[in-house]
Symmetry: C2
Subunit: 67 residues, 2 copies
């Protein structure tokens, strides 16, 4: 389940960088509630969203989908 | 640009397996015109779409986003 892998990576990478959902959302130009929903596997993020978040987190996009 | 990487990988992997856009679309439960649009970077595929295509192509999802 790619949504689960992405959600797990998103939460881990965000926490490792000491970022709140709000701070990550602001930096990526997204809404905090959307970040929360992604971390709960509610939505299926698109390539553009994955790229925005990966850029803020400082990792290549494909790493967001890797177990 | 993650859309470009994904489009390039999708076309290469599909061709390597001798699949037409139609055959890949049918196997993944998607529309042929959507496959064509993804290969032209028109749309930003979602995690669920990436997972369906990766499953048909027999590779892990993250490899679809890797240069």
């Amino acid at each position: 389940m790619l949504r689960r892998t992405f959600a797990t990576n998103l939460r881990r990478l965000r926490s490792e960088r000491g970022l709140s959902q709000e701070a990550l959302a602001d930096a990526a130009g997204l809404d905090r509630t959307y970040i929360s929903a992604l971390e709960r596997e509610v939505y299926s993020a698109s390539l553009d969203t994955i790229e925005k978040l990966a850029d803020v987190l400082g990792i290549p996009g494909f790493e967001m989908l890797r177990d």
